[in-house]
Amino acid sequence: MPHPARTEGLKIARLLMVLSSVSPLFVLWAIRGSSLVPDSYLLTFCLLLVILPNFFLWLRIEGAKKHQVKSELIVGSAEDHRDHLLVYLFAMLVPLYPIDAGTWRDLAALIAAFGFVIFLFWHLNLHYMNIIFAIRGYRVFTILPPKDDNPLSGRTSLVLVTPRTNVLPGDRIIAYRLSDTVFFEAKECQPNLTLTPLN
């Protein structure tokens, strides 16, 4: 049964997660400085763009934990995308390339390059790439659905950010939802809500 095309939701949230993803770039900008923009402005700007998106990412994860916004992912096959690191590094380095020029046109080119990177990360749903995840020991896997005959099963590949070192076919993983296709498996979960049975 063909599934109709659908668009990924949470556009603003994903944009903020992309900004969180590229936050190391702002750290590098702040260190390098600019001959056109006074340090006080540049440092404030970079600090805000490091803190705010990462604060939002933290809120997003905590919100998902608080409201138990979880899904069960059944693994058909899993791919460990360490090669995405190259994409990530390239995206971080390209906007830094012209930073030494020091003219307004170079600054405009730098902002444009940065805009392209942001757009591509946002459009291609690469908001799961985040150095903070790597620092905290998480890995990123692409989860492909199992090949079953059930026409109602989901057919979309999903991204799982997890502390696991490997994900095997047939694994059942309960993970928090960060966006429609990106899920986060925490190292620890909150206790379940308990109700009293009705008489």
Partner: protein, 302 residues
């Protein structure tokens, strides 16, 4: 029999809706907060309570006419459970928070729960009230004056129509179960299969005319499915069958050793096979024939 799923032990509670999109149906997951999850748990528990109040459990029979609330069960291995089983076993449902943006497409809503041991429960409700609220205008008190509620409001019901567990399907509202389970289409599609399975047991009955009649008449198709499900056609005696047909007014003729049912008597003949037409003779020499709207074997269910 597997133990009943412990709703309080569920570590995962998902909410989702069934979407009717022209010729296809899709089932998607919709994110919810903890309050909705708590409400869903309460609904499952309320469904179980309602079922207990609806009487002793009985097996679901597609030929029966049920009241709105029942306490029925159907094993997952039944062919009638095939669509429901697909819903229950579907994995990695797409997450679509905007699925409710056009609620007119929503034909059912459901919850799926899972505990730490991997046991699963699904509970499904036909979306009637859920959609009905969208059509009606709600009012609420704001300060001391009534005002129209402008927001989109989705009303969850008090309970579900049926629950699916490893032990089988527990049905509170047969109508909701039949609607979501697409039973009418499945029963009509199974006419050939059901009729063919009876041919071995009833070689002395011409089932061709019954088969073509049942393809056009859902009620007859239900009787056929019921007869097959009951598995009570083995060892039927031809003479006794013919005698019961005559005594209950079912018009059959015998051609080349086979009983042929006249067009206007197909439903009655199926009623005879499904033990719905019978005769009693409490007054001497005054036999009376009756049709049972519902029946259960004495000694099994009462």
């Amino acid at each position: 029999m597997p133990a009943q799923f412990d709703v309080n032990a569920a570590e995962l509670v998902e909410f989702g809706v069934g979407l009717d999109e022209r010729k296809t149906q899709r089932y998607v997951s919709v994110p919810t907060d903890v309050n909705v999850k708590a409400a869903l748990r309460e609904m499952v528990m309320a469904t179980r309570t309602e079922m207990k109040g609806a009487g002793d459990g009985a097996d679901y029979d597609p030929g029966e006419k049920y009241s709105s609330h029942e306490n029925l069960r159907l094993p997952l291995s039944s062919e009638l459970a095939s669509h429901i089983l697909k819903i229950h076993s579907a994995v990695n449902l797409a997450v679509e928070p905007k699925a409710l943006s056009d609620p007119t497409n929503v034909f059912c809503y459901f919850t799926r729960m899972r505990d730490k041991k991997g046991h699963k429960l699904s509970a499904i409700r036909r979306a009637t009230t859920f959609k009905g609220v969208l059509k009606s205008r709600l009012v609420q008190f704001s300060t001391d004056a009534l005002k129209l509620v402008e927001d989109k409001i989705f009303k969850l019901d008090r309970d579900f129509d049926f629950i699916v567990e490893e032990s089988g399907i527990q049905i509170l509202r047969p109508a909701g179960f039949e609607f979501v389970g697409a039973l009418e289409g499945a029963i009509l599609a199974a006419v050939d299969k059901n009729a063919n399975s009876l041919k071995a047991d009833l070689p002395f009955v011409d089932l061709e005319s019954i088969q073509s009649y049942a393809k056009q008449h859902p009620r007859a198709a239900r009787y056929l499915a019921s007869i097959r499900t009951q598995q009570e056609t083995k060892n039927i005696n031809k003479a006794k069958l013919k005698a019961l047909c005559e005594s209950t007014g079912v018009k059959v003729t015998e051609v080349k050793g086979k009983l042929q049912v006249e067009d206007g008597s197909v439903m009655d003949f199926l009623g005879v096979l499904d033990r719905r037409l019978y005769q009693v003779e409490l007054i001497k020499d005054s036999p009376e024939s009756f049709r049972a709207a519902s029946r259960s074997r004495i000694g099994q269910n009462g």
